[in-house]
């Protein structure tokens, strides 16, 4: 009786201690993530300039679908997403397979070199890429020296090439990051599977698509979801490489939200509506990726 009572007391005491360990973190995340999310939802039904907002129902959501700038930013963001993410993931997979070879020398050097871009700040590398891809920039100079082009490419002032420059920049920054995940996953793969495949006469290409990719599926899913979320939030690069131009040809949804809130006449309500568009896109793309990965499983 005595021990049962003290046992219960101890458990209750432990529960209190346990909660107190997690309390500060839980309160801060609710305060700075979930509470603003609810605020944004409320604001998305309001309109007005600056802090004076009045309730207007679904007006902002109707405006969203008629807003050419918004539709352009969605188009741009989706283009970045469907072109850049697959290129980067395949490239990272390919490099990690090459690096996973046991008899390869200078492995440490290659790994560090390819991973190095990840330590730069997004702003710093964006400014460097802006200079690299300038009209008189070093990229044009070098391409002309090797006679690949006869006149400079308008990297930052042509709507098409500006998108290409952004995609090259993001790929440069994040391929090594993804590669590290694949490399660590590959190190856990049993060597004998490849040995057996070799004996059965599978080529390197077959091994890559029939063994490596299926084996790394969970980690590929993880990296494609984080890359998707990252691309949908793209801001620093576009802001610092092209400022969204020429016209709105490279502007992303995040940059549009920033402009709506702090650059144009501030319209917090409509900015909040646009921000919910990103939330919805993240949910949709994540579900698609889970579905695609799940189907292959069967």
């Amino acid at each position: 009786m005595q021990t049962a009572k003290s046992g219960r007391k101890l458990r209750a005491k432990n529960a209190v201690i346990g909660w107190s360990f997690v309390l500060v973190a839980a309160v801060l995340i609710c305060l700075f993530y979930f509470y603003p999310m609810i605020q944004a939802l409320i604001m998305s039904f309001q309109t007005g300039s600056g802090a004076n907002l009045t309730f207007t129902g679904f007006d902002n959501y109707v405006r969203l679908f008629k807003d050419p700038t918004f539709l352009t930013t969605v188009k741009n963001t989706v283009i970045y997403l469907i072109i850049q993410v697959p290129i980067m993931i395949l490239l990272a997979l390919f490099l990690s397979v090459l690096l996973n070879n046991k008899s390869l020398k200078l492995k440490g050097f290659f790994r560090t070199a390819i991973f190095l871009p990840c330590v730069t700040s997004l702003v710093a590398y964006s400014v460097i890429f802006k200079y690299l891809f300038g009209q008189d920039g070093i990229v044009n100079i070098m391409l002309m020296k090797v006679s690949l082009i006869s006149e400079p490419i308008q990297w930052l002032t042509d709507p098409f090439w500006a998108k290409v420059a952004i995609i090259i920049a993001i790929t440069w920054r994040w391929t090594g990051y993804n590669m590290i995940f694949y490399l660590s996953a590959l190190q856990n793969v049993d060597e004998s599977i490849y040995e057996a495949a070799k004996i059965d006469g599978a080529s390197s290409v077959q091994q890559f698509f029939k063994i490596t990719i299926p084996m790394l599926k969970p980690i590929i899913l993880f990296t494609s979801i984080t890359s998707t979320i990252g691309t949908l939030q793209l801001f620093d690069e576009v802001m610092n490489i092209t400022k969204g131009g020429p016209g709105n040809a490279t502007m992303t949804i995040s940059q549009y939200i920033y402009n709506l809130s702090f650059k144009y006449t501030p319209d917090f309500g409509y900015a909040a509506t646009v921000s919910y568009a990103i939330v919805i896109m993240i949910v949709i793309f994540s579900i698609i990726q889970f579905k695609v990965a799940g189907d292959k499983n069967e």
Partner: protein
């Protein structure tokens, strides 16, 4: 490995390495050259680094910006470590159904894009400004507070705590240590590598953060290094040599940390997906 395959592997890896390193090399080389030489495509180091540095210090408030970034990053890292490791430890050691539910709920915050939080957070700090200007708009606290606790970091510490030998905790309890005492005197010293990995990731993220400081900081004397670099990049007729010097100086602290603690950094990143 056949010879052909070997040649192919090395060629691809060497090209990938050159492409990865080239922008760094170009940045460093350009910081030692005059602006005109940079535009002419000079790829060899020059002798103008000191001159560029002088110009830089005369043109912008580099040292104050470095100090602001250092203050923000160090505070964020220390507070972040403390709060997240307490929570990660709490979620793993004192498990219960309701706490597991809370944990999963907190993880949802990783899916929330910052763009969706930016405007409400800005208004929130605007309201705070009226009563407590000390932590309102245009203050270091306003930069730090929203980013100091991330679900990722809590998740990271909880994952690492799974590996922690629980018998040591029991021994601590028998010796009459309080739960907080066990945490501070046994857990913290034992988990040094986890703290190191988490600290590097947090410091780098904080040092490099751009959008939220851009929104919340207004006066020039409060600007951080990324804001300064961004302003340099947007100038109409840039002094390339000088700007590259600024970027080199801004990148140096994180690059150094990366090289010294490379193992921990990579371990930390991979710990995030275990």
């Amino acid at each position: 490995m056949s010879n052909l395959k070997r040649i192919f592997s090395y060629t691809v890896l060497i090209i990938a390495s050159i492409v990865s390193i080239f922008p760094f090399l170009w940045m460093i080389v350009s910081s030692t050259n005059k602006s005109v030489e940079v535009t002419k495509g000079k790829l060899l180091p020059g002798s103008h680094f000191i001159e560029n540095l002088h110009n830089l210090l005369d043109t912008v408030d580099l040292v104050p910006a470095l100090m602001n970034s250092a203050k923000i990053s160090i505070t964020t890292t220390i507070l972040g470590m403390l709060i997240a490791s307490l929570a990660g430890y709490g979620f793993e050691i004192f498990k219960s159904k309701s706490k597991d539910f809370l944990f999963n709920f907190l993880l949802l915050s990783m899916m929330i894009p910052f763009a969706a939080l930016m405007v409400p957070l800005f208004r929130m700090f605007g309201n705070i400004s009226q009563n407590m200007p000390m932590i309102g708009i245009d203050t270091m606290s306003a930069v730090i507070l929203p980013t100091v606790t991330t679900a990722f970091l809590i998740f990271f510490f909880r994952q690492s705590t799974k590996m922690f030998p629980k018998e040591i905790l029991e021994a601590g309890r028998i010796d009459g240590l309080s739960e907080l005492g066990i945490f501070l005197r046994i857990y913290v010293p034992t988990m040094k590598t986890t703290y190191a990995a988490a600290a590097i990731i947090t410091f780098m993220a904080s040092w490099n953060s751009y959008l939220w400081p851009l929104v919340i900081l207004q006066s020039p004397e409060n600007q951080t290094i990324p804001l300064l670099i961004s302003n340099l990049g947007s100038s109409y007729s840039p002094d390339f040599g000088m700007n590259m010097t600024a970027i080199v100086i801004a990148t140096l602290p994180v690059a150094l940390i990366f090289f010294i603690m490379q193992k921990h950094f990579v371990a930390g990143m991979m710990g995030s997906v275990k």
